[in-house]
Symmetry: D2
């Protein structure tokens, strides 16, 4: 039997707890911001942070991002790939190489 994908596992996990009712796009967007800030908190007073704690907080961001992707009926990898195509056009190699200023305001 095939191993379930992490997306199936997340869906099952939420369904067993009757949580999909809370997972509206708006609530998931709030949740992503909240978890992103918990990740940022590891770097609040220093540019360095413990890798295990970073992984742990990143996991929460990814989890809610995966749940929101599922609400959109998309695989996260496809969402990233579609955007990457657009970004490639926006930041041509020759104009963006090693340039932090342009990175922002090309």
């Amino acid at each position: 039997m095939a191993t379930p994908s992490v997306h199936d596992e997340l869906a099952t996990f939420a369904a067993e707890r009757d949580w999909p009712q809370f997972h509206t796009p708006e609530n998931l967007a709030k949740s992503i911001s909240i978890e992103a800030a918990e990740l940022l908190e590891l770097f609040q007073w220093s540019p360095d942070a413990d890798e295990h704690r970073v992984q742990d907080e990143l996991a929460d961001v990814l989890t809610y991002a995966y749940l929101l992707a599922a609400r959109l009926g998309k695989h996260p990898d496809d969402i990233v790939r579609t955007k990457l195509e657009k970004t490639r056009e926006k930041y041509p190699v020759e104009k963006s190489r090693g340039n932090a200023t342009k990175y922002d305001q090309l």
Copy 2:
């Protein structure tokens, strides 16, 4: 020839532009928070938002989250799975079912 994974594509995209120097864990953590807020902005005054714009902003969150996972030498799916194991123990089905209050403060 095998299709490159989205992770390989992102790494190539950044390397071609000499951007990995900017992709420190701290800068990626800031970037995830910034993009999470752009996603949240779609819901600033209403619980509903255009699906295409949601996908577009979610893509940016996922992109930086994938880049940070790569900095940790991990696949995002593995990071989510590892955390899900912990969360399963923290929120047993019988205690959490359909309960938003407990969802928060079990």
Copy 3:
């Protein structure tokens, strides 16, 4: 005639545009996070940022924070003062001096 306070000015500004209907506590909380991220964006790739842009983004954070304080029927200064009393007890001078680690986890 007395100069109106900035709080009166904000209230008038919103009322003239019939915006208080949008200024629920939840929407203001979202707005504060969104504007905080726009401020953070100035520091996305560098620890330095243009002072005028910092002031401009900080203004938006403060504006929504003032509007939320007004929703609570409180003056922002009193909210800060009340919390400062608690924080003083939590971080006694002798334990916290010059200590970033303790700053976080005393």
Copy 4:
């Protein structure tokens, strides 16, 4: 003797703990985002939240916002007022009244 302003109190509080070294504009910007998300967390699964907890989290946002204003050598009220002048021009009453869509994208 005059009562010290809340800004003087905050400055004294930080100086006594030797904390101004941590209060760079970048760290304060991160801190504002982090505290804004703790405020948002009160509304993660519901549009309603306990007023005392809202006040408590708003206090932290305001505190870091006041500290950043001090770093810019400005009074928070003046920062809000300066921006309000600009916003008044950007959102004329007749175009913005009761209009959430325009509120966003006039």
